[in-house]
């Protein structure tokens, strides 16, 4: 199963390397968000630093949706999804492969955009960088794992691009609340570290539960 999932993820990432459609759009979107926020808030002002955790997750959520929307819609051209469904593998391999590809693209966007954001806002991390990376990882993991599942669900609808955000926001709101709070504490106020740790634990538990659920239920979603 893992081997097939890696093969599917490799196929998606290689497609992206060839077409440069999704990742480029995601990075351009992230850059635009950072630019707009840098115009709206004065980077020299100290209170501006308070909006940074929020801006980080605005980038993740909205650029993530751009990528998620494409991940299953791209399989509708020439009915390639049927080609995957008739291959000797479980539907969960398709989910895992798509998840790995989406998660990799999300990490690339974060790697490019977050240093750019810190640079433009002249933001110096006073907290813990490893914990910040951990929060980014678990937050993106949860968001993409649920998003990949819902993208598969929405892909069968005619208005899937509108449906995905509608389904995604309510389900991922506990993750987003948790990671925004944890990011704020880790980046600006390490005195409340225990509180951040509680948020991290909550988000991690949510991630595990929903990843397993999505993994088990994908078979019913992908049925023709």
């Amino acid at each position: 199963m893992i081997k097939t999932a890696f093969l599917l993820a490799k196929k998606d990432l290689y497609s992206e390397l060839k077409t440069k459609q999704v990742l480029t759009t995601m990075i351009i979107f992230a850059g635009l968000v950072i630019l707009v926020f840098s115009f709206a808030f004065d980077p020299a002002n100290n209170t501006t630093k308070a909006v940074i955790p929020g801006v980080i997750w605005v980038i993740v959520v909205f650029s993530g949706i751009l990528g998620l929307n494409r991940s299953f819609l791209s399989e509708q051209r020439n009915d390639t999804m049927q080609g995957l469904l008739i291959a000797p593998m479980d539907a969960s391999s398709i989910y895992l492969g798509k998840f790995l590809a989406n998660f990799t693209m999300m990490l690339v966007v974060e790697l490019v955009s977050i240093p750019f954001l810190f640079l433009l806002f002249d933001f110096k991390i006073i907290g813990s960088i490893p914990y910040f990376i951990l929060i980014m990882f678990i937050g993106s993991f949860g968001f993409i794992s649920i998003g990949t599942f819902l993208a598969a669900l929405a892909a069968n609808s005619k208005s899937s691009e509108m449906l995905l955000p509608l389904l995604l926001f309510p389900v991922t709101s506990p993750i987003l609340i948790g990671v925004v709070q944890a990011t704020r504490i880790i980046l600006t106020n390490m005195e409340k570290f225990s509180s951040a740790l509680a948020w991290i634990q909550l988000v991690s538990a949510y991630d595990v539960i929903f990843f397993v659920l999505c993994f088990l239920l994908i078979e019913y979603v992908l049925e023709v």
């Binding site: 060839k18 077409t19 009915d79 049927q82 080609g83 008739i86 000797p88 593998m89």
Partner: protein, 234 residues
Amino acid sequence: MIEIKKLTKQADNKLILRGIDLSIEKGETVAILGPNGAGKSTLLKVLATLIKPSSGLVKINGLDLKKNHLEIKKLFGYLPHSSLLYDHYSPLENLVFFGKLYGVTNAEERAIELVKEVGLSFFLNEPVKNFSRGMIQRIAIARSIVHEPELLLLDEPHTGLDQGAISILNNVILSMKAKGTTTLMVTHDFKQAAEICDRIIIIKNGKLVDDFKLEDRALNLVSEKYQLQVEGVS
């Protein structure tokens, strides 16, 4: 090879397949004929594990479709209306990807061999999006046999093909038949059905209404039986 008993499929209160009973021996080449909406493609999709049947029993090579779908998926190659190919990938990349998905050893060698077999060696590394309908169908045929399946499920494979592509497709089917592959082909093309098939099945309103063996490419017999069953002309 294929055992179907009392197969039904219902969708949105409409009964698409109404108790199909069918038995197909290994190595047979069977054409499924019938008017539009008769349930031919649905039957093929059920066999291809794309649609779950509402009731009935389907066995392929003695394996139950419900319980052993992973093993069954390894046995068949499916060629629907769509090519199931990735547009921006070349024939080589497409076939290597699907070959690896089916666990084909030396997937690249097999892909090159198949592209040569369908007469498109010159376009090995060209993206499929630049191909004509006939060329795409040839690569789609190669994709469906990349893992050397024991059962070939073809849904109107001759539609939109030029004479060259039809001849290549027929040669592929006949060479697979020589290797002992069972072929099930949904078609509206009586001429092609008579040319390559040794048994004809006619489906009407989700029911199997006729099933007969064909000898000496008897196109007239196919037309007569079809008219009798479907159009009610004697």
